[in-house]
Symmetry: C2
Subunit: 228 residues, 2 copies
DNA sequence: GCAAAAGTGTTGTGATTACACCCATGT
DNA sequence: ACATGGGTGTAATCACAACACTTTTGC
């Protein structure tokens, strides 16, 4: 952005492009990492599943646009979700219609809220990450794979697992989420201690109810993150 | 990118934006992590240092545009550099002239090549990361800070330090680069072993020449990375 | 009292650090 | 010979994992 100043003042001299945001909306449903998809009803890729997304408005920031799309698709009532920029895709060939630069975000929601979004009946479906074999439109399969990688990589350093759980949760719930993301079982005592030593959670003194056996203690997340 | 298909076919219905790439071109010069900057000669921010950048062409991918800007500013002769997408900035307020979405990249060059770029006399200057106190145009100070964070975070997992060194280097050179990036001294034997065990380097059998004292062995990087 | 899952104590292992030392080279 | 930095061995520390064990609840 330096030696192109003359161009910049002439609207026809720079190449205008459409900028969109695409959302990888994830949750852990019954031990499976799951993504929210939307069936396209127009070509190209009519009838194919794709990531929800939308154009960035003229006076709208990128994070702002992502948050708008998030609340419009998963119009959850005033609750919070993790929302983080993932990567920007801008290959000239990625959309056959026109030049589109797309800023991908990933969003994390508790399973209950994902289910609500699906139940709202706006054509949204949830699909386990393992079940989608190249059935996504555009380059969206690669975007989902990248989101999964990022999730795995940050899991131990950043308190993002809590965005996939309700406000109160047990250590077993938390471990299930970690195992779903990493795709492998974890040792229970080791996991417990790592979490308790992390400073991310605090015990509430409350306990589960309606359990068949001994009820587990409920914990609360006390860590901060990019929640919208 | 799903429910806006009708808009997408009408050029006037989507908000066109200019898309640029900005480069954080870094090297380690005399133990200091250093960034390549360019003095702006046009308002806004005339006379102020900024990151080199440029518009993304109509048929050009983002990585491609970044590589083009890299080779035009630091027109190094056929050598290789580390080039990696960093983050995308799109606040409506970030450029007072018009709506610009900028995809930031960071690039890593050996100190010698950075010096060549400066010597070429295209108005480029190098500045140590510690020395720039909010003297950058636009939101570029934040971009540089983010690049530094990313560099620190990936240093132990990804073989990017070698992009800051010539093809042959000593373990001491490598340690100096790590220390400059992390901003703290490292233990010599521990660092040695970590590097030798990493599988990223291999000894050449060659040795330094013209040293005052015992010459160190020269190593070569055998790891792959996103080099352009 | 028994089944099932919560929660804890103890031990072992691998990785990394810290410190001390030896080695090789040019003056 | 000696100063200087390259290079190596050994012990200590830490984090984490594995395992066995105790505890608590509902039926």
């Amino acid at each position: 952005m330096t030696q192109h100043d003359l161009q910049a003042y002439d609207p026809s001299a720079y190449p205008p492009m459409a900028v969109t945001v695409d959302l990888v909306l994830m949750s852990v449903v019954e031990g499976q990492l799951t993504v929210l998809l939307q069936r396209r009803d127009q070509p190209p890729f009519a009838g194919v599943q794709a990531l929800p997304g939308g154009f960035v408005g003229p006076a709208e920031g990128l994070d702002e646009a992502a948050a708008r799309v998030l609340s419009s698709k998963a119009g959850f009532g005033g609750k919070q979700a993790w929302l983080e920029q993932l990567y920007t895709f801008g290959s000239p060939a990625r959309d056959p219609r026109m030049r589109i630069v797309s800023v991908a975000y990933f969003a994390l929601l508790p399973a209950g809220e994902l289910a609500e979004a699906v139940a709202a009946g706006q054509g949204l479906v949830q699909m386990p990450l393992g079940a989608m074999e190249d059935v996504l439109a555009f380059d969206h399969a690669g975007i989902v794979a990248l989101a999964h990688e990022r999730l795995k990589g940050k899991l131990d350093y950043v308190p993002l697992a809590f965005a996939l759980l309700p406000a109160l949760f047990t250590l077993r719930d938390l471990q299930d989420v970690h195992e779903a993301i990493l795709g492998k079982p974890l040792n229970k005592p080791a996991f417990r201690r790592r979490m308790l030593d992390s400073g991310w959670i605090e015990p509430t003194g409350e306990r589960e109810v309606e359990t068949a056996f001994r009820p587990a203690e409920l914990y609360r997340c006390v860590a901060e993150g990019p929640r919208v």
